[in-house]
Amino acid sequence: MASDQNRIYERSQSVVFLKTNDAFGGLSNMAGGFPLEVNGLHIRTSEALYQVCRFPHRTEVQQLIIEQASPMTAKMKSKPYRHDSRADWDQVRVMIMRWCLRVKLAQNWNSFSELILKTGERPIVEESRKDDFWGAKPKDEKTLAGANILGRLLMELREAVRLGGQESLLLVEPLAIKDFLLDGRPIETVIAHRIERLPFTSLDAQRPVQTDDNSQKPLQLSLF
C-alpha cells in the first residue's frame, strides 16, 4: 500500500462497520437484503458481483460465485481461482468496486441511500483485522489506520447522492474496460430495479377466497 494512501481515523468520530449486523453493517458488501440484477441475472450481494468481475473469461467460475447463498461462501469458492483473475485486476479493481456500489445503490435506492445519508458528515470506515487496503486496521483502542478505499468510495457515493440526487444515479453505465463480461456477454447498462408487489389475496383459488373488507363474503358482481 502506498503510504500516501494511508489514513488515520478516530473511532469515536467515524462510522465504523465490521460485521453485517452492526448498525451500519448494510454498508458492507457482504450485507444481505440488497439484491442486484445485472444482465438479467440475480446476484445476491455486491461482494458476489465484485468477485464475479474477476473472471470475465471463466463463465463457470462466475456461475459458481452467483449460485452461492452466502457472500462469504461466494468469496471462498472463488479463492482457488484467484490466480486466474483478469490480468489487469489490480488496475481495475477499484473502479469495479465503485461500479458495484453504484449498482447496489441504483437497485436498492430507498434502503441504501437512507443508510448512506444517515452517516452524516462522519468518515465511513470498514474495520478489518487484516485488510488495510479496502478497510482500516485497529491501531490502538481509539484509532484505525488504512487506505480504507471502500469507506472512501462510500463517502464519494454519499456526496453523489447529496449533490446529484436519485435521478443521476438510477442508471449505471458499464465500465469502459476491456472484457467487462457476465456470462459471456458484455455487461449492459444497469437500471434501477423497481418492482413492487401489489396485494392479491386469491391468486390461488384453492385457498379460501379472502375479501379485502372484513365481511368475508365473496364479491357480488352483476356484470356477467
Partner: protein, 346 residues
Amino acid sequence: MTERQNLLKSIAATTADYRAGDLAAPTPEHVDRWVKQFNAGVQLPILREMDHVLKGTYFSLEKVTRFLKGVLKTEKLVGSDPSKFWRSVHFLDIQGGGNSQREMLAIFGQLLEKACGVEIKQCEPPESFIYLDDAIFTGNRVLRDLQTWIQSDAPAKSKVHVVSIVLHSGGQYYASGRIQSAAKSVGKSIEVTWWRAMKLEDRRTYTNSSDVLRPASIPDMLEVKQYVEAMAYKPNLRTPGNVGSISLFSCEEGRNLLEQEFLKAGVKIRQTCPNLGVTQRPLGHITLETLGFGSLIVTFRNCPNNAPLALWVGDPWYALFPRTTNSQTSLNRFMTMLAEEGFDGI
C-alpha cells in the same frame, strides 16, 4: 360422475366468463371437444393438469376486479390519501394493438369513481403517470407504447407506474433497459416503477425454475424433430424437477405432459394453419427463435397469443380459448355492457 366429467365441469366453471357476452359460456362439452384432439391416453392427465393450472392462471372479471380494488388503496403506491393520489395522476391510454389497456381502464375508472369519487381524467400537470395493463409478457408492447410516448408527449422528467396483474421477469428486464435508453436518447428522465401481483419467471438463464412452458426434452415425433432441426438456434431445454416459483404446475409429470403435448400439437397446428407467421411458435408468440413463450395466463377478456397455439388457434384445430379477431367490435361490446348493465364492483 366420473373423474373426467368432474374435470370437464371444473375447467368450464373456472373459465366461465371467458369472453362473456362475445361467446357462449364454456361448457363441459366444449372442453371435451378440445381435449379429444389429443391422444386418448393423455386426455385425462391433460385435464387434471389444466384444471390445476387454470385455477391459478385464469383471471376472471371477479379476480381482476379484486386486483384493481387492491391497487386503489395500496399504501405504498397511493400513500395515506388515495383520493388525493388518484386525482394527481394521468392515466396513459396509449396502447397500440389490442384493447387490454382500455378495458382495464374502463373497469378501474368505475371502481375509482365509486371508491374515491375520482374520475379518470387527464390531470395536468400530473405528478405521475399510470400505465395499466392486465399482464406484461415479452415486454414488447409496454416498451413500444412508452417509447412512442417518451419520444412525443412525455414531459422532460416523469414518473411512470406500470401496473399489471402478472409480470414476467424477462419481459420486465428487457423493457426496462430499453425504456431507459429511449429516455436517454431524447434527453428525458423517466422513472419507472413496476407494480405486480404475480411475478413469473421466463428468463432463459432460469429455465430450470421457469413458470412458463419450457420442454425438458424434444418429443419423439418426426414433425417436432424436423421443426427443431430447422431452427438456427437450438432450444434451451429445462432440467426436470421444478414446478416453478409459485407452483403453477401440480408436479413435474403434469408440467412435462403439458409441455410435451402442447409442443406436439403446436407443431401440428403450424403445419395445418400456414397463415401463422413464423413468430407464432408452437408454445406461443415470441420474436426470439425458441419453441414459444409458453404462457398459461388467460384473462376473461382474451387469451394472449403468447400462450401455446393449442389453446387458442382455431380452424381446423378447435380452440379452448378462441381469441378475439375483431378488436374494435369486441371493445365496443365490452364498453356497452359495462355501461348498460351497471357495474357493481364495490
